[in-house]
C-alpha cells in the first residue's frame, strides 16, 4: 500500500515539473525572437508569401493575446492534440509521425541499453575481481577513454572502420557478414517477427547502438568495478570463503547479487541520457528516427512540430525518472518512501 502512495506522490510531484518544462518550451517557441509562422514560410518576398504567412499565423493562433495562446497550448497538450507538421511533412499529424518514426528510435535505444549491460558490466566485474592487475588497468582505462569519446566522433570512426573490414568477419566484411545489410540507413522493422527479419534489423542497428551506448558502457564498467570492490571486502564474503564456498559460487551468489543492486537504477538513468544523444547518432547513421525528425524539424523551421516533440521528450524523461525511483524502492526497501528528491 505504501508503495502505491509513494507512486501517487511521485506522480503528483511530476505534474509541476512537466508544466514548467512545457512552459519553458512555449516561451522559447512562441515568445522567442523567431516567429514560428515566419520560420515556416521563409523569406517573405511576394504577396503570395505574405498571404500564406497571414494564413498560418491565423491557423496557429499567433494573433491572439499571449495568455490565450498559452491556454490553448496547454489544453492541446493535455488532450494530446499535438498538431501537425508544417514544413517537413506538410499536413501530417504529429502523432502519426511519432508512430512512424518512433519504433526505430525505440529499437535503437533498446540495443543501446542492452549492449552496455552485456559488455560494460561483465568487464567491470572482471576488473573488480582482478583489482590492481594489468588486466584491471587495461579495462579501467578503456572505460575512461570510452566515456570521454564524443558520440559523433566515435560514430564517424566506427563507420569508417566497418566499411574497410573486408578481411575481417571471416573474410566477408561487415556488410555481408551473416546477412547482407547496408552500413548506413534505417533498420526495417516490419519483419521483426521472422528470424531473418530480426537478424537484419538487429545487425543494422548494432553499430549505432554501440555508439549511443558507449558513454553508458564506460560508466557501467567503472561502477560495477567499484561495486564489486566494495562487496568483496565485506565480512560475509570472508565468512563464506572460510566456510569453503567455491570460488565461482562465491562470485555468482554472494558478490554479483549484491554488486548488481546499485547498478540497476544506473541503467535506467542511462536510458535518460540516450534520449538526447540519439539525435547525433541517428543523423550520422542515417536512421530516420525521432532524433532525426527533431533535428530536421529544427533546421527546416518546423517549430510547431519540434515543440510537440519536445513535449513527448519531457513526458519520456519524467516517466523514466519515476520508474527509476520506483525501482529503487523495489530493489532496496531500506531506501523507503521518505523524501527521495
Amino acid at each position: 500500500m505504501n508503495r502505491l502512495i509513494y507512486l501517487f506522490r511521485r506522480l503528483l510531484m511530476s505534474i509541476p515539473v512537466v508544466w514548467l518544462g512545457v512552459t519553458a518550451t512555449f516561451l522559447i517557441i512562441r515568445v522567442g525572437p523567431l516567429n514560428p509562422a515566419a520560420a515556416i514560410v521563409g523569406p517573405v518576398n511576394s504577396a503570395q508569401a505574405q498571404e500564406r504567412l497571414d494564413r498560418i499565423e491565423e491557423q496557429l493562433g499567433l494573433n491572439d493575446p499571449i495568455h490565450i495562446q498559452y491556454g490553448e497550448y496547454l489544453v492541446d497538450l493535455v488532450t494530446f492534440d499535438l498538431g501537425q507538421s508544417w514544413v517537413l511533412y506538410p499536413g501530417q499529424d504529429t502523432v502519426a509521425l511519432l508512430a512512424q518514426f518512433g519504433p526505430r528510435t525505440i529499437w535503437l535505444g533498446l540495443w543501446a541499453v542492452l549492449i552496455p549491460i552485456f559488455i560494460g558490466i561483465p568487464l567491470g566485474i572482471y576488473a573488480g575481481l582482478n583489482v590492481n592487475t594489468n588486466r584491471d588497468y587495461l579495462a579501467s582505462i578503456t572505460g575512461i577513454v570510452w566515456r570521454a569519446m564524443p558520440n559523433f566522433w566515435l560514430a564517424v570512426i566506427l563507420l569508417a572502420l566497418l566499411s574497410r573490414t573486408d578481411a575481417l568477419f571471416f573474410g566477408s566484411g561487415w556488410e555481408s557478414f551473416i546477412i547482407k545489410t547496408d552500413l548506413i540507413g534505417a533498420p526495417d522493422l516490419s519483419a521483426l517477427g521472422t528470424p531473418e527479419g530480426f537478424i537484419i534489423a538487429t545487425k543494422q542497428i548494432l553499430p549505432a547502438a554501440f555508439v549511443l551506448g558507449s558513454a553508458s558502457m564506460g560508466n557501467e564498467l567503472r561502477l560495477s568495478r567499484t561495486a564489486v570492490l566494495e562487496i568483496i571486502n565485506e565480512d560475509f564474503i570472508d565468512t563464506a570463503r572460510a566456510v569453503g564456498v567455491s570460488r565461482w559460487r562465491l562470485i555468482g551468489k554472494h558478490v554479483l547479487r549484491n554488486a548488481l543492486i546499485p547498478l540497476i537504477p544506473v541503467v535506467t538513468s542511462e536510458a535518460y541520457l540516450l534520449v538526447g544523444g540519439s539525435v547525433l547518432v541517428e543523423v550520422v547513421f542515417g536512421i530516420n528516427g525521432i532524433g532525426t525528425l527533431f533535428f530536421d524539424a529544427m533546421t527546416s523551421g518546423d517549430l510547431p512540430l519540434a515543440g510537440s516533440l519536445m513535449f513527448v521528450f519531457i513526458l519520456l524523461t519524467v516517466s523514466i525518472n519515476i520508474a527509476q525511483d520506483l525501482l529503487y524502492t523495489l530493489i532496496d526497501p531500506r531506501i523507503g518512501y521518505a523524501e527521495r528528491r
Partner: protein
C-alpha cells in the same frame, strides 16, 4: 573578527604584521614575475586593444609593441633555395624546426609561468598566511600523491596553454589561412623557372588541398609544394589544419569556462539557499531543476541555438557567447544536485546553528560557514561537466549548428573530414577528434583527482552522479 588577524594578537593591524615579514623572498618573487610578464606584455596589450572598443589607432599602436614569443620573432615560413638553404626562417632553420622551436619555447614559457604562480602560493603559505595549517594543505598534499589526477592536470594545463597562445602556435594565422588568404603573398622557389616566385596564399592553398587522392593530399608533418610546413596536414580547402585546431581550442575553452562559471555560480547560490532555508524554498528549487532536466539538454541546446540564431547574441564570438549561455542555462541542475547534498549535510552542523544564534546575517552564514565546505565538490563536478560541455559544443558544430565560420571549431573540422576518413586524408577527422578525447579524459581525470584529494575517507557523493556529470550533453 576578520580573517586576517588571529585572536592572540588581535590588536596588531594588518599593516604592522605585514611589516614584520622579511621581504627579500617576496621581492625576488615579484622581480621574477615581472621578468616573466615582460616578454609577453605586448601580446597582452594587443589582446586588450583588439578586445576593447578602442579604435583602429590603438590597435595599430599596440601591434607595434614587440613580443618575444611570436611568429614575427621566430618565423617558420621561408623559401628553400637550392644551394643556399632556407631563407626567411628563424636562423635559417627548416620551417618544421623553427615551428617546433616556437612551440617548445611557448610551452616552456607557459610551464615557467605556472611554476612561478605555484611558487607564489608557497611563499604566501609560508610567510603571509596567519594559520600554519588549513585543510586545503592536506588536499594539496593528497593531490601530490595522485598520479592519475596529476596526469589530468597536465593535460588540462597543456590544453590551456594551447588555447591561450593559439595565435602564436599555429604555423600561420587565421587571417592568412582562412579569412582573407588572397591578401597575403608568399615566396617560393620554382624549379621550372629556377627563380623565386610570388603567389597569393589563397592561390597556393588551392594547390595544397587534402582530398584523399594521390597528389591531392598533404598529410601530417609534411611540407607542401610551397615549402609550407603542416604539422597536422591540410584541410580539403588547402588550409592548415593545426592553425584551425589551435584556435578551435580557444573557442572550446572559452565556451566551457564561461558556461561552467555561470552555472557554477547559479548552482552554488541555489544550493546554499536550499540547504540553509530548506522546506518550501528547497522544494521549489527541486521542481525548477527537475523541470530543466526533464528537457533533454542537447535538444534544448539545438532548439535555443536555432531560435536565437538571428539575434545580436548569436553574433558575439561567432555564437560562442550564446552557446556558453545556453549550456549554462541547461547545465546548472546537475551541478546544483552535486553540491546540494554536501551543503545540506553542512547546514545541519552545530556551527551553522551557532552562527545563526550569534546573529550573523543568513548571507554571511552561508558564505562563511557553508560555502567553504562545498567549493571542493563544485570543483570536482565543474571539471567533469567541462568535458561534457566541450563534447556538446563540438557535437553541435558537427551538426552545423554551433560555432559559425570562420571561427574554427573541432567538431566542424571532424564534419569536414568525415567523407575523407577512409582515404589517405584521414587526418582531418581523426586528429581533432583525438584531441577532444584526450582533453575530455584530462578533465575527467582532474575531477577524479580533486575528488580523491578533497576527502580520502568519506564518499559524500556517489559516483553515480559524477558519471552523469561527465557524460554531459551526451554529444
Amino acid at each position: 573578527m576578520t580573517d586576517t588577524s588571529s585572536p592572540s594578537d588581535a590588536n596588531v593591524t594588518v599593516r604592522t604584521r605585514l611589516d614584520r615579514i622579511p621581504t627579500s623572498a617576496t621581492r625576488a618573487w615579484l622581480a621574477g614575475a615581472v621578468l616573466l610578464i615582460l616578454p609577453e606584455v605586448g601580446a597582452l596589450i594587443q589582446f586588450a586593444a583588439s578586445a576593447l572598443p578602442l579604435g583602429e589607432t590603438a590597435v595599430a599602436a599596440a601591434d607595434r609593441i614587440p613580443v618575444l614569443l611570436s611568429r614575427e620573432r621566430i618565423p617558420n615560413q621561408g623559401t628553400l633555395v637550392p644551394g643556399e638553404g632556407w631563407q626567411g626562417t628563424f636562423l635559417g632553420l627548416s620551417p618544421a624546426r623553427a615551428w617546433g622551436l616556437r612551440v617548445g619555447l611557448i610551452y616552456l614559457y607557459g610551464a615557467l609561468c605556472l611554476y612561478w604562480i605555484w611558487r607564489g602560493y608557497l611563499l604566501y603559505r609560508n610567510r603571509y598566511r596567519t594559520a600554519s595549517w588549513t585543510p586545503f594543505d592536506d588536499v594539496v598534499s593528497r593531490f601530490r600523491g595522485h598520479r592519475w589526477g596529476q596526469f589530468g592536470l597536465l593535460v588540462v594545463l597543456a590544453f590551456l596553454i594551447l588555447a591561450v597562445f593559439a595565435p602564436a602556435l599555429g604555423p600561420t594565422t587565421l587571417e592568412q589561412n582562412a579569412i582573407d588568404p588572397y591578401s597575403y603573398e608568399l615566396d617560393y622557389y620554382d624549379d621550372d623557372t629556377g627563380d623565386i616566385e610570388t603567389i597569393t596564399v589563397g592561390a597556393a592553398n588551392t594547390d595544397t588541398t587534402s582530398q584523399g587522392i594521390e597528389g591531392r593530399n598533404v598529410g601530417p608533418l609534411t611540407y607542401d609544394q610551397y615549402d609550407r610546413f603542416h604539422p597536422f596536414g591540410t584541410l580539403p580547402s588547402g588550409q592548415d589544419l593545426f592553425t584551425q585546431v589551435a584556435l578551435g581550442a580557444r573557442v572550446s575553452l572559452f565556451i566551457g569556462l564561461l558556461a561552467i562559471t555561470i552555472s557554477g555560480v547559479v548552482a552554488t547560490s541555489l544550493a546554499l539557499i536550499s540547504a540553509y532555508y530548506g522546506g518550501l524554498v528547497d522544494l521549489a528549487i527541486v521542481l525548477v531543476s527537475d523541470a530543466t532536466q526533464s528537457l533533454p539538454q542537447l535538444l534544448v541546446v539545438i532548439l535555443l541555438s536555432v531560435v536565437l540564431s538571428q539575434t545580436w547574441l548569436a553574433g558575439l564570438y561567432s555564437g560562442g557567447v550564446l552557446l556558453a549561455l545556453i549550456f549554462a542555462l541547461t547545465g546548472w541542475p546537475s551541478l546544483w544536485r552535486a553540491v546540494r547534498g554536501p551543503a545540506l549535510q553542512v547546514s545541519e552542523r552545530t556551527w551553522v546553528d551557532a552562527a545563526d544564534s550569534y546573529g550573523l546575517a543568513p548571507k554571511t552564514t552561508m558564505r562563511r560557514h557553508i560555502l567553504p565546505y562545498i567549493v571542493g565538490y563544485l570543483m570536482v563536478y565543474a571539471s567533469m561537466s567541462l568535458g561534457g560541455i566541450i563534447i556538446g559544443v563540438s557535437g553541435l558544430s558537427f551538426l552545423g549548428l554551433g560555432i559559425s565560420s570562420p571561427t574554427p571549431e573541432w567538431g566542424r573540422l571532424v564534419d569536414v573530414g568525415q567523407p575523407l576518413l577512409t582515404t589517405m586524408s584521414w587526418h582531418i577527422a581523426v586528429l581533432p577528434g583525438t584531441l577532444i578525447v584526450i582533453v575530455v579524459t584530462g578533465f575527467n581525470a582532474l575531477g577524479d583527482g580533486v575528488r580523491d584529494a578533497i576527502d580520502a575517507e568519506t564518499d559524500l557523493s556517489s559516483e553515480e552522479e559524477t558519471s552523469a556529470a561527465a557524460s554531459g550533453a551526451g554529444g
